[in-house]
Amino acid sequence: MKLTGAQVLVECLREQGVDTIFGYPGGAVLSIYDALYDADDIRHILTAHEQGATHAADGYARATGKVGVVIVTSGPGATNTVTGIATAYMDSVPIVVFTGQVANSLIGKDSFQEVDITGITNPITKHNYIVKDAEQLPHIIRQAFSIARSGRPGPVLVDIPKDIQTTIIDYTPKKIETKESNSSNQLEQVDFDNIKKAIDAINDSQRPVIYAGGGVNIAGANDKLVEFAEKIKAPVSCSLMGMGAFPGDHPYYMGMVGMHGTRYSNYAFSNCDLIIAMGARFSDRVVSNVEKFAPKAKIIHVDIDPAELGKNVMTHIQVCGDVGQILDIFNRHVQEKQESSWNKQIEEWKKAYPLKYKCNGNLSPQYIIEKLYELTEGQAILTTEVGQNQMWAAQFYKFSQPRTFISSGGLGTMGYGLGASIGAALGRPDKKVINVAGDGSFRMNSTELATVSRYQIPIIQLVLNNSSLGMVRQWQDLFYNKRYSHSQLGQGVDFIKLAEAYGIKAFKLDHNDQVESVLSQALELKEPVLIECVIHPDDKVYPIVPPGAGIDELID
């Protein structure tokens, strides 16, 4: 079949089963958009900004497990995706970003809207391509999707010069197996010696702890993890990316571990004799001071990315492989344990140090999240911005399913949540999606309200407004002698009017008494809603591990 490069791109998207793309047209992708004009089976979401498109594709990918797709033009269109790509890279999210490029004959001449986007994105993509030979286009697109979704997923960028889009090439359709076949293919690569050592260590352990990361969610190994924890009677803590990997209401669940982890999680890590890390990477937000981390513990580290093993923390037993597959082996071969004094100790810590909060104003952010959990019965998808809003959402909503907590963990991208909520809601129309935001991060990309409004996406924007950059202010309060340098935003934005300007219904909350009725009302609505929640700037995220301290040296 003879087709133009642009038509081949659309055909290749169909091959991959792509039904939704996020994008923004421009000079260098006119041919691609012309081909898309006839593609009624591919829903194109026009965002307000290319960064929003990239976050939306990322949210779509995290919520569905499918590859998110972005199409943008060259130059500024391409550079606007950079923060979104870096966000996806840090959190191992499969997206493919197609950027237009000036024609091959104009490359290197500082042509209009020319930028070396493959050079720029080298450090933040799993791989990237610039298409120099039109015949290679279908092969490159297929590889791009394959690389994005396989192994440890991540973003891939394909830069397509304008002349490639119009070159006529011979296209042969190909059937693509989009379901990832990691588990069957990688069996031969699994290191059975180390698995054996791991099983022995688990059997010998008196005080084990399971540390679950985002890898469990990506592998869809949640049920296997529950089976494993129940078999060896081990308490489970999650990293931020691991939220939802283990049911939030399970008796063995200890919440988050690390900087804003629960006291009992952090105590358990500091006193256990074995940490079983599943698909987690010992980020500095979890470990804090490496010297003081888990001094009594042997560490088993299971991850699909060999480069993570031994990177951040010296681990004793390293197993490279798919978390689900390794859990299967563990579940078959480890000995069943009985509950012991260790489980009792954890229960005592849980009773002695529950997550608590004090309300400085009339409306408490933690209370809002607790109510949200009750009213949605834990079934909603929460996206977050970054900062206090993110931590409160992680601490007080009990996530019980994978892919229901969508947050920029690694890069900590303020302005991520709104775009991500658009993608999540489009990918999972069966779920209620709520974006938990702070006023600071919401202001960064609130232009995407235009997208929410245009497509009438029924998302709730829960803007926790403390008129400041809450987490920055909290650090200045605790560690910089209350010198609030440039962290106070004031009352500059009327969020109700802002929502109304976009034709979005808005509510204002300023007292705990109103929370239940307003939230229930908003949850009933099948249209976009914004709820501004006026909270006190002194409300803090506790507990917190101060910089340089061990994770058991929390303050609250």
Binding site: S146, I147, E180, S181, S184, N185, P306, G310
Partner: protein, 177 residues
């Protein structure tokens, strides 16, 4: 401690920047780097001398292996045949020329250009040998110098094989990336 790595990569434009960029962004120190096409024109071989402990070498190797264009990363043993090449332009007038030639002969280096008061010396050898000659010639006023990175081959029948690595088709899930 210095370690030698031989990295076989696809001979595409842009691959070298992917490899060298990885070093700077991960904070690894490259001591030297040499690259050229191999006996197979589709493959280039990059020889990297990296400075660091075992942790660094392990991390470098693992991170390099994650690059799609990298075919194979091998550690070259310390007793391998290792060579660098240097061209040294040194001031040599009628009074000093004889002394310089004597030194050059001791090192089995060669004179590749002679002018009225300058010589260009070419030397091949391992890093220490070249450094030693440079140190000797410093007394005679080195005007300009250029030196390559190290290249190396393991001794005997030991060699880096890549024939069994599937390069053409990237297979879903087979590469743990």
């Amino acid at each position: 401690m210095k370690h030698l790595l031989a990295v076989l990569v696809e001979n595409h434009p842009g691959v070298l920047s992917k490899v060298s960029g990885l070093f700077s962004r991960r904070g690894f120190n490259i001591h030297s780097l040499a690259v050229c096409v191999t006996e197979d024109p589709s493959i280039s071989r990059i020889t990297i001398v990296v400075e660091g402990d075992e942790y660094v070498v392990e991390q470098v190797t693992k991170q390099l292996n994650k690059l799609i264009d990298v075919i194979k990363v091998s550690k070259i043993s310390q007793d391998s045949v290792t060579r660098e090449l240097a061209l040294i332009k040194v001031r040599a007038d009628s009074q000093t020329r004889h002394e310089i030639i004597e030194i050059i002969n001791i090192f089995r280096a060669q004179i590749v250009d002679v002018a009225k008061d300058h010589l260009i010396v070419e030397i091949t050898g391992d890093s220490e040998k070249i450094t030693a000659l440079v140190d000797m010639l410093r007394d005679y006023d080195i005007k300009e110098m250029v030196r390559t990175g190290a290249i190396a081959l393991d001794r005997g029948s030991k060699m880096i094989r890549y024939e069994d690595i599937d390069r053409g088709g990237y297979q879903n899930g087979c590469n743990v990336l």
